[in-house]
């Protein structure tokens, strides 16, 4: 039954993570130094973007709900670094990181978060539905687990039309206890579809700790039940995530079907921008920040000679400047015209035929 996690239990969880999941960053055969630097830059961009989002929300520039990707950067960036142009991803309610990792434009993202006309969704979606379809990012969704079958359908298209793209289905640990999670993975497994189910196990489904939501706290174990490979990876390690996704993508493209990857980490920030986090002790979070994925990748780049501290600092400044530019762009951008209210409800031909919005 549900109980509040004690500081002692949290210490045990940190120790278990260090023992069982934490893996050192090592050079990957699939990543050139330039790739690693690009990954680092994108992780910094996500961090700066979502740090700014929280402030903008407090200042009322962002209207509705917003869920931050801070501390999860290694997962979206590591995964997308293993993808090609033409590959698809589906997202969660925490989609800013996925969008940036897949190549989304911060200006259009920030404009969408502020509900402006040049935003990705023309001001109709906001944070929870942000979509960069032209980049293969099939949209964020406000309902936990709901993108699972959408990713399966995307993979079905690839198989049916003989295309060699893969689809990565990002989802959280909360999604694993929705019925559609099971239906989707089973269907993809039965049909050997080219999809990668990437579970971002941040250990919290809003205020529910994962180990109290399930009897077996391993998501990857469930893969056995579907007859597909299941792996657990250090979710604070961008290179490890990259390697796991690269292997799964190669298998999927070769007709080997889906893989379930559990990227374990910990959400040391609130569930959403205004979460009071009354469900846990603050020192729980502090103990997890030692695994900060940006610090870890930065340290690795320095130690391996890929980049020096000056380059890392410059990457941070570049990221901050891009976010500041995006904020300025969004603040200056026009609101949608009120007569666009019905636009996009149906295809244009049907709207015209029925006179919708006239």
């Amino acid at each position: 039954m549900r109980h509040r996690i004690t500081p002692e239990e949290n210490c045990e969880a940190v120790a278990a993570f260090e023992r069982d999941t934490l893996t050192p960053l090592v050079m990957s055969a699939g990543l050139e130094p330039a790739d690693l630097k690009e990954m680092y830059g994108r992780m910094r961009l996500i961090r700066e973007f979502d740090t700014a989002v929280k402030e903008l929300w407090k200042q009322d520039f962002i209207y509705g709900l917003a869920h931050s990707y801070v501390c999860a950067e290694a997962i979206a960036v590591g995964a997308c670094a293993a993808l090609r142009e033409g590959d698809y991803i589906t997202s969660t309610h925490r989609g800013h990181g996925h969008t940036i990792a897949k190549g989304g434009e911060p200006r259009r993202m920030m404009a969408e978060l502020m509900g402006r006309a040049p935003g990705y969704n023309k001001g109709k979606g906001g944070s929870m539905h942000i979509a960069a379809v032209d980049m293969g990012m099939l949209g964020a969704t406000g309902i936990v687990g709901s993108a699972m079958p959408i990713a399966v359908g995307s993979a079905l298209t690839a198989k049916t039309l003989g295309r060699d793209y893969v689809t990565v289905c990002f989802h959280g640990d909360g999604a694993t206890n929705q019925g559609v999670w099971h239906e989707s993975i089973n269907l993809a497994a039965a049909w050997e579809l080219p999809v990668i189910f990437l579970c971002e196990n941040n250990q919290w489904a809003i205020s529910m700790p994962y180990e109290q939501a399930v009897k077996n706290p391993s998501v990857a174990d469930r893969a056995v039940g579907y007859g597909i490979p299941g792996v657990t990876v250090d979710g604070f390690n961008a290179i490890a995530v990259h390697d796991a996704v690269a292997e799964a993508a190669e298998r999927a493209r070769a007709g080997g079907g889906p893989t379930l990857i559990e990227a374990r980490f910990y959400r040391w920030i609130g569930h959403f921008v205004a979460d009071d986090e009354a469900y846990r002790d603050p020192d729980c979070n502090d103990r997890w920040e030692q695994f900060d994925p940006i610090d870890r990748l930065g340290g690795f780049l320095r130690e391996s000679g890929v980049a020096d501290q000056a380059w890392l600092d410059e990457a941070g400044e570049t990221a901050l400047a891009r976010v500041e530019d995006a904020i300025a762009f969004a603040k200056a951008a026009p609101e949608p015209e009120l007569d666009t209210l019905y636009d996009g409800l149906y295809s244009e031909a049907f709207m015209a035929q029925q006179g919708i919005g006239r």
Partner: protein, 335 residues
């Protein structure tokens, strides 16, 4: 586009089941991006025989037998539609759409809009509706009002072979999601179907019978029961104008109002239970837009507000029949 076929058009006689099957086959021959997926649609050819032969003709890649996983069937259709296929998903009984409801209502209906028009969702969900076979509470329902209440969806509910063919073709070619409801008691209904390819636009009602005394709007197979009642009443000199809207959203209120302008009386007939249903919506539209046209209060003949009972006599009590329709029409005309 053509509307209901005129008499001089060359036709063939067939039943609704055959009309669906032929349309699916012809459209799949025309467009290689069309796939069919659902429980029992492939090797078995659907329990009603609706998809018979398609698996053999188009293969397992285009006619996909699925596990019993409605959320995955409906949701994966969305993912496929968003990335280049035109899926036709089948839910074996419309009652089970409830299992895929999040995908249908929160995703399929909204994705184009909430993504600012960036994604098209060209998909059809076919599902048998209706009662009359002793299938009790979980295999007998008609939910057309639920889905017509959701902006972003289209709801189609024809009951003649010619309408089925023209409207299913429009549904398959639509770039927006369509719920295509087939009445289980309507599969064997026969009629003439044009030989030439044709489509019927959504939102165009069929005036099945002209009359000056009362407008009878009848949905799905209630069209046939209403016609039987109308023909019998004609012998007494009561002339009904029977209208089959054929599509629930969009619904052709102009045709209904034009008729009410002539008759001053309105009876709406549907099998779905009365409470908060489409009959109330039709009446409200007519009252709002044409209150002055009405000489009498509108009447609704609908299923009774209970889960469908199993027993034959109890089931018969729930479903509107010719007698109840006749009684309502008599009430409306005061004879």
């Amino acid at each position: 586009m053509t509307a209901t076929p005129a008499a001089e058009v060359q036709t063939r006689r067939m039943n609704v089941k055959r009309a669906i099957n032929e349309t699916l086959r012809e459209e799949m021959q025309r467009d290689p991006t069309i796939i069919i997926l659902g429980c029992d649609v492939g090797v078995r050819g659907n329990p009603f025989g609706v998809t018979k032969g398609l698996y053999q003709e188009f293969g397992a890649e285009r006619v996909l037998d699925t596990p019993i996983s409605e959320a995955a069937i409906v949701g994966s259709s969305l993912g496929a539609a968003a990335t280049g296929l035109r899926p036709i998903a089948e839910v074996l009984f419309s009652d089970w759409i409830t299992i895929g409801m999040d995908q249908l209502v929160n995703q399929i209906a909204k994705i184009r809009y909430m993504f600012g028009g960036a994604i098209s969702v060209p998909l059809v969900i076919r599902a048998p509706v209706g009662a009359g076979g002793g299938q009790a509470a979980q295999h007998s329902q008609s939910f057309e009002n639920w889905f017509s209440a959701v902006p972003g969806l289209q709801v189609v509910m024809p009951s003649t072979p010619a309408d089925v063919k023209g409207l299913l073709r429009t549904a398959i070619r639509s770039d927006d999601p369509v719920l295509f409801f087939e009445h289980k008691r309507g599969y064997e209904i026969k009629g003439q179907v044009p030989v030439e390819e044709y489509t019927i636009p959504f939102g165009l009602a069929d005036i099945v019978r002209q009359g000056n005394d009362v407008t009878v709007v009848a949905i799905s197979i209630m069209r046939h029961k209403a016609m039987a009642a109308a023909e019998a009443l004609a012998a007494e000199g009561i002339e009904c104008e029977v209208i089959d809207p054929r599509t629930i959203y969009p619904l052709d209120y102009d045709t209904v109002l034009t008729s009410v302008e002539k008759t001053g009386r309105l009876v709406v007939v549907h099998e779905a239970n009365r409470r908060s249903n489409i009959g109330g919506e039709i009446v409200s539209q007519v009252v709002e837009r044409g209150f002055g046209l009405l000489a009498e209060p509108p009447r609704i003949v609908a299923g009774l507000d209970v889960p469908m009972p199993y027993n034959r006599a109890l089931e018969t009590l729930v479903i509107p029949d010719e007698a109840r329709i006749t009684q309502a029409i008599r009430g409306a005309v005061g004879r």
